[in-house]
């Protein structure tokens, strides 16, 4: 029971955006099911006025659309990451995440001035610098925050006593435990893909590829169970096809299907991170027999990088800790011109966190070295995907 409760808490921790641990524990006793609830893609936002996050996709058909967009957003880096054995996604929150819910992607960010956390321009002393501080330090990393805060006081970093809320992530779902649970659940559920899942993805793809039949396909598939051969035949007749390895587009379809599994594995279906991680793990486990270890406690968090050659975006640098780059904390400097403009921008004067989001977070990238978590020798090459993912060729 204790194990069940803890597991449920971790699942809840990574799925809930703003609930307290106590609330999580209470909720865990009530249910531990994946939260595939919401109002559907047609309803963009939900929640109270302070906590606005997107709604989960209501159906697998909708989720295929969400996954398709996420994968297209990362299309250029897909093959590089596959070879690298890693997954990357934007630190920046997806559209629809606002206010205190910002920081959904194993990355939290705040504006600071001389180390003080500042939310409004009026909190900043005249002429004082403003920096955007990004942290990827897991909430459950222990024994680090004081040393990191001390290091940030150095002139080479922030140059002031830095608020610890900006140094280590504060949200429950931004924890090592939550990330490990996500990987575990996605791996465990990988081979349990219902036939409906692959068919929904195929139907979604057909609806995009054949606009003239999009409405019909959507009507036949969205929210419907395509396990029934009778129902599926009607969809196939309109052009949908579950592809096999020899078919063009097979890899893209499998990527979407892997991502669409995030919902049934407890992932939050609108987060880039959950979809990217679960998509890759699901495929690797289902197709290459990969099994995964927990994220070691020696890992402080997912590291920051950029889209190209592990370089941070212009204006950003890693915090220096013990004279070395510390890859879980990034300082992005605001140029003098931008600082000047902030005073006059109605969208940002009262919400400097939004500025940090809009200015830096989409080009600041989180990196998860999925291959490094593999239980030794479990991943088998063979298919195109598995050979690329394992960086091995079958039989060698």
């Amino acid at each position: 029971l204790a194990s069940f409760v803890l597991g449920a808490v971790e699942t809840m921790a990574r799925t809930n955006s703003s609930r307290s641990p106590l609330h999580l524990l209470a909720a865990a006793f009530l249910f531990a099911a994946p939260l595939a609830v919401g109002c559907g893609a047609e309803a963009p936002v939900t929640g109270d006025e302070d906590n606005i996050v997107p709604a989960d996709a209501a159906t697998l058909f909708d989720q295929a659309g969400v996954c398709d967009a996420i994968l297209k957003r990362h299309a250029t880096v897909r093959d590089t990451d596959l070879k690298d054995g890693s997954i990357r996604w934007n630190c920046g929150d997806v559209a629809g995440v606002t206010a205190s819910d910002r920081g959904q992607e194993y990355c939290e960010y705040n504006a600071v001035s001389k180390g003080k956390l500042v939310t409004q321009i009026k909190d900043v002393a005249a002429g004082a610098p403003i920096q955007c501080l990004f942290t990827g330090v897991f909430k459950d990393t222990t024994g680090k925050v004081d040393a990191l805060a001390k290091a940030l006081a150095d002139k080479a970093n922030i140059g002031g006593t830095t608020d610890k809320r900006a140094v280590q992530m504060t949200k429950d779902f931004n924890s090592r435990g939550a990330a490990t649970a996500l990987v575990d659940d996605c791996a465990a559920n990988a081979s349990k893909a219902p036939i409906n899942e692959a068919r929904q993805v195929a139907c979604y793809q057909a609806s995009v590829a054949i606009p003239a039949k999009a409405a019909q396909l959507k009507k036949l598939c969205r929210g419907k169970d395509l396990t029934s051969e009778t129902a599926w035949k009607k969809v196939v007749a309109l052009g949908a096809k579950v592809l096999v390895a020899a078919d063009a587009g097979f890899e893209a379809q499998r990527d979407i299907a892997g991502c669409a599994a995030a919902g049934r594995s407890g992932g939050v279906t609108w987060r880039n991170s959950d979809n990217m991680i679960c998509g890759r793990v699901t495929r690797a486990a289902a197709e290459c027999s990969c099994a995964y270890n927990d994220i070691p406690t020696a890992v402080d968090g997912f590291t920051f990088t950029g889209w190209t050659n592990d370089q941070l975006p212009t204006g950003c640098r890693y915090a220096k800790v013990a004279a070395a780059d510390y890859k879980n904390l990034v300082i992005c400097e605001i140029s003098a011109g931008e600082r000047d403009d902030l005073e006059l921008n109605a969208d940002y004067t009262g919400d400097l966190q939004s500025f940090c989001h809009d200015r830096f977070s989409t080009e600041l990238v989180m990196k998860a070295p999925i291959r490094a978590l593999e239980k030794a020798g479990t991943c088998k090459p063979g298919s195109t995907f598995c050979s690329a993912y394992t960086a091995k060729v079958a039989g060698k």
Partner: protein, 540 residues
């Protein structure tokens, strides 16, 4: 002002308005220059070009170049003028010669069009164009982005390029260059042409005078500097205000190689392949990339600096230089950016739909509006004309200079809160506002407020929350707290309008209505730039 004019126009070639060559020579010159833009018609006929010696070459070079990276490299190096892009990138250490290990700052956009003649010509195949920026090797420094935007090169492709038949369609000569002037804060435009591999190239500088007239200064090696006036706007056909240009400056950066879009697996070869493959290496051929994601930030910084000026040169920049009369159109020209539009950007849907399809985001700033989700089966709009970063920047400059207050700007946006561009109502105020324009900044603001007030009194805007909000914004006697109250009520009203507008995405009839709105905007954009040489992307 005179000092500024001297800086700007310090290129009076001693042999000014030299007539050149025989008819045959003129034809050849025009044929070559057709690749540059619209031709140097004024270089027509006459006697042979006088030749000059090395010392004269150097003296003339000092006058043709500005205080920019091009001038720094060539003012005392007349023989070093490059004639082709490979020569240019070696000299300036940009492009494939950029020392960065993560990016060569070669950004690629593909369209079914060619701009090799200066005009946009639609073609049947995708042709790559590139923007190459100046190579910033100090990325951690937020101010260092200037090293990228202080030198920019545009390369275009053409089905008529010498090696196009060999899948190498990029035109490597002439080379079109913009360089930020450290003293004026403006961009200087240059065109470099080849006189044969390894030979000193010919350089032409294209400049816009205070009266808006276009002047050209052409220096062939060993010949005297030629000046000419040109009826065609040349570079300013596209760079309308003279600043940098990136049409699709927001995600998903339609047509640009970005995290969203790989380089197509098209058959490219030679220099074209070598250059464009720097944008991204989808199969891990190398670890470098130049994604539109990064170019967006470079361009935003470039436009900011170009409008407001170089910090080390007070009075520099498009805004101050226009106010002082060195750049054309004066204060009235700058104000046009607030009322109407002088340039456009283009926004596209990806997984969400641009807000501009429904409202003017600036009118409801602070309202925390989120873009609604797009229908994956029917993604639109693609390349919706929206208010340009340039016009927003110029407006910000006017605000910082005191010509427009924040409240007046908010009122102007609220006058038509559903049209960020092509607003007959807002643009219709412009002529009245700039008529007999006063000079004192506060008086200008008052005049604009009066123009808005006159419209309110004419009942052009219906009674309600928006009317009340604008009324309070333009009344200096109303304190900020009361304006805030009025804004709260206005935003509540705007929320309803927004909800109704976005609901159109959910029905076939609604989508049809929205698509008609998109098309109307595209038509208006075409009307705004009726000439063949224009900055528009392919909108069909």
């Amino acid at each position: 002002v005179q000092a500024r004019l001297d800086v700007l126009l310090g290129v009076h070639g001693e042999g000014g308005r030299q007539v050149s060559g025989r008819a045959e020579r003129a034809r050849a010159a025009l044929a070559a220059l057709a690749l540059v833009g619209s031709g140097l018609a004024a270089l027509g006929c006459g006697a042979e070009d006088p030749t000059v010696g090395d010392e004269d070459d150097i003296a003339e070079s000092k006058t043709i170049f500005g205080d920019d990276r091009v001038g720094a490299a060539l003012k005392s190096n007349a023989r070093g003028v490059p004639g082709s892009f490979p020569e240019f990138e070696k000299l300036f250490k940009v492009g494939r010669s950029c020392a960065r290990t993560d990016s060569k700052e070669i950004f690629v956009v593909e369209e079914e069009s060619s701009r090799a003649t200066g005009a946009t010509k639609e073609v049947t195949e995708l042709l790559p164009r590139t923007v190459i920026t100046g190579c910033n090797t100090d990325k951690q420094n937020p101010e260092s982005v200037r090293s990228s935007f202080n030198l920019m090169v545009a390369l275009v492709s053409s089905p008529d390029a010498p090696n196009a038949a060999k899948n190498d369609p990029m035109v490597l000569t002439p080379v079109e260059v913009m360089a930020l002037d450290d003293k004026t804060g403006l961009y200087n435009f240059y065109v470099f042409e080849s006189n044969g591999a390894g030979k000193t190239g010919t350089v032409t500088r294209i400049q816009r005078g205070p009266d808006g007239a276009i002047h050209e200064y052409r220096k062939e090696p060993g010949k005297t500097l030629k000046t000419s006036d040109n009826q065609d706007k040349r570079c300013f056909n596209c760079h309308v205000n003279g600043g940098p240009l990136m049409n699709e400056m927001t995600e998903p950066w339609t047509n640009w190689v970005s995290t969203h879009k790989q380089l197509p697996e098209s058959k490219l070869a030679g220099d074209t392949l070598s250059i464009v493959s720097e944008a991204a290496a989808p199969h891990g051929e190398h670890n470098r990339s130049s994604l539109a994601n990064d170019l967006e930030q470079t361009m935003r910084a470039a436009i900011r600096t170009w409008v407001t000026g170089v910090a080390t040169a007070p009075g520099s920049g498009h805004g101050p230089e226009t106010l002082s009369g060195v750049q054309p159109n004066g204060l009235a020209g700058l104000l046009k950016s607030s009322f109407c539009e002088t340039e456009l950007n283009f926004a596209s849907a990806f997984d969400t739909v641009p807000l501009e399809l429904f409202l003017d985001p600036s009118a409801v700033s602070g309202g925390s509006y989120s873009r609604p989700p797009a229908d994956p089966a029917d993604i639109f709009p693609i390349l919706l004309p929206v208010r340009s970063e340039m016009d927003k920047r110029i407006e910000l400059f006017l605000q910082k200079s005191g010509y427009l207050s924040a409240r007046t700007i908010s009122a102007l946006r609220a006058v038509d809160d559903v049209n960020d561009v092509f607003s007959p109502l807002r643009c219709g105020l412009y002529q009245e506002a700039v008529k007999d324009l006063p000079t004192a900044p506060a008086d200008v603001d008052a005049k604009v407020r009066k123009a808005i007030g006159d419209k309110l009194r004419a009942k052009v805007i219906p009674a309600g929350a928006r009317f009340n909000y604008i009324s309070r914004l333009i009344d200096p006697a109303v304190d900020d707290a009361k304006v805030k109250d009025a804004k709260t009520l206005y935003l509540a009203e705007a929320n309803k309008t927004f909800a109704a507008a976005t609901a159109l995405l959910g029905t076939t009839a609604g989508k049809k209505q929205l698509k008609a709105r998109v098309q109307a905007r595209k038509d208006a954009a075409q009307k705004m730039f009726p000439n063949a040489a224009n900055p528009l992307p392919v909108l069909d």
